[in-house]
Symmetry: C2
DNA sequence: CTGAAAGCGCTTACAG
DNA sequence: CTGAAAGCGCTTACAG
């Protein structure tokens, strides 16, 4: 590796001390304007770039945020990570990304590693597996700032930013009922996962509001992926009556329902309204009756970083914050391509 | 922050020197087995975690890889990043993720920052914008290992791992022709972007092979997103004849074509075969004739890391490598949900 | 097998 | 406004 120029090299060239160089480069006001200018000019000429790891070691601040997610190749998390990265960059931080793969042990390992790397703070969305509380206790003990996003550990004493799953589900199902649907099935998640519980609670609440009974054979709990949706809908096909709408706990589950329909009852495709919590990339093009609850991914990512930085920089006003974001309902009329303005905008940015 | 235990704290407790502790912890063979065991036991008791930034500074190795991508909320990149992260973790490296947003200036800034952070190597997929060659020259000058993936700068002297766009397109279009399609339109990208050029070349080559003429009004260049697909297909609708198949340069462009069809010519939905280069998450559920060229994202991520680590660890056999990966064609018969085995497997891993 | 010395490239806190 | 000293927490290279 070609010799890298250090503070001391600049100092020697200028016959001053490296402290002066260090301060001048960071624009500290106790260095004369002329000296600052001279140092910067020289540094640029010599091709100096500060060694951020040395800086981290001596300043005890890395300007790196650790981000742990259960998965990344998933529209929701990809969008949130994107927003996190964007906001972090804007604020002068880098992000160290780790994926737990829904595995608590791996999640723990990642967090320990990030701790050892001396990140300034942690942004984590916990795996579905029973989390290992001891790491979080460790994080607490060392006063490392941490903000949970989307999936949190309750009562761990950390700030969190989550989505109002119950209300989102409630509004969506309420909307269906107001549109005249009465026989609404729910392909649910599992009870041990918060989003499963909450979305189901919102569903039941909406039925209750309209004095509709919960028809048990149509509420099928079990998971969050395509196969669960597929199997559950096949099961529904074997009941005597057919629903006129299906509320799927996630977008993948909704896809599984479509898959089952296409295979076993294609005639239902155009008549049964599907509602999914969360959206995929192709809503604008989905040809069947399809509704979805949209999650504010960008806002979640941006605000998660803001909350964390406030804690890191000590400007946090109080202890743990719990921010709850509201969803929006995307109806058929709303479906659209990204607007031309947006497209033009992104072109402008790129160009 | 609670006092963190350091090497020296362990050393004092044991009445030995910190060098011995350091070596024992890293299992160096020149420390007696008993001492190693004792040190490790004590370190564990005291809750020691090594300070990786101090280690980086003194060892000149950070065990961090910098990853720069044009975007992340995109199925292709999300999948590749996932694979990169997985492989890096397996090899004991962390990844610092940066998103250029298809913006060359931002790409440059990110790389400079990663350089300053002293990553051990760089994995980059360049933005579509004219790249700023000077940063790459700088990377060369400091002998920083770098591997381009998917989108590279030719002749920059770095290793690269890319996809055989031309051949992938050729095989796919060739397949269409063998299935009896003769009137194949191509919604192309732009000429200044390699994937645009290459995919188009593959398309033309396939037509040539079968002595089919290129019908210019049906080859519409312009971009890579939904709107381009939409506009281009509307334009095609205004030509006298109609194609029996459409080859879209990307999956989003294909979606735009579906959008245009649904709006302006819904009757074509079931009759015009759409072929996209790249796939989305919903292939298994797409109801219309749909074919796609699948990119080996996982292999790309894994191998990119392998190549980079070989360069970092000095085991690279020669100068720049150029790996070209082949695509596979996913036909309607191949469409499927993730297999039950895979689902069970992921459950097992998670459990 | 264990240790004393030097150093990685910075910043902090304190003098002057 | 500039500098001398100390230190961040490790590892490397060399003695013994």
């Amino acid at each position: 590796m070609a010799k890298r120029v250090r503070l001391i090299d600049i100092a020697e060239r200028l016959n001053i001390t490296k402290v002066t160089v260090s301060k001048a480069l960071r624009d500290q006001p106790d260095i004369s304007k002329d000296m600052r200018a001279l140092v910067k000019k020289t540094a640029a000429e010599m091709g100096y770039t500060p060694n951020l790891v040395a800086r981290s070691l001596s300043s005890q601040r890395s300007h790196i945020l650790g981000v742990v997610v259960p998965k990344i190749a998933h529209p929701f998390f990809a969008a949130v990570i994107d927003a996190i990265q964007e906001e972090a960059t804007k604020k002068g931080y880098g992000i160290l990304l780790a994926v737990s793969n829904e595995n608590a042990a791996l999640e723990r390992q990642h967090i320990e590693r990030l701790l050892a790397m001396r990140v300034d703070g942690l942004l984590v969305s916990v795996s579905k597996q029973q989390p290992d509380l001891s790491v979080y206790q460790q994080v607490r003990d060392m006063h490392m700032p941490l903000v949970f996003f989307d999936r949190q550990i309750e009562d761990a004493g950390f700030s969190s930013i989550t989505i109002d799953d119950r209300l989102g589900a409630f509004h969506a199902v309420d909307h269906l009922i107001q549109q005249g649907y009465r026989k609404i099935a729910h392909i649910a998640g599992t009870h041990d996962v918060a989003i499963g519980r909450e979305r189901r609670a919102g569903y039941e609440e909406a039925l209750r509001k309209h004095d509709l009974p919960v028809f048990e054979p149509w509420v099928i709990a079990g998971g969050f992926d395509e196969w669960h949706g597929y199997d559950a809908f096949v099961q529904i096909l074997h009941t005597d009556a057919l629903p006129d709408a299906v509320f799927a706990v996630t977008f993948p589950v909704g896809l599984g329902v479509y898959g089952a329909m296409r295979e076993h009852a294609p005639d239902l495709l155009d008549t049964v309204q599907i509602l999914t919590f969360g959206d995929g990339e192709v809503n604008a093009f989905y040809p069947y009756p399809h509704l979805c609850v949209r999650q504010p991914t960008q806002e979640m990512g941006h605000r998660a970083v803001e909350i964390l930085l406030a804690e890191i920089e000590g400007t946090a006003d109080g202890p743990a914050q719990r921010v709850v974001l509201q969803t929006s309902l995307v109806t058929a009329q709303n479906y659209r391509l990204p607007s031309r303005d947006e497209a033009a905008e992104s072109l402008r940015l790129a160009g």
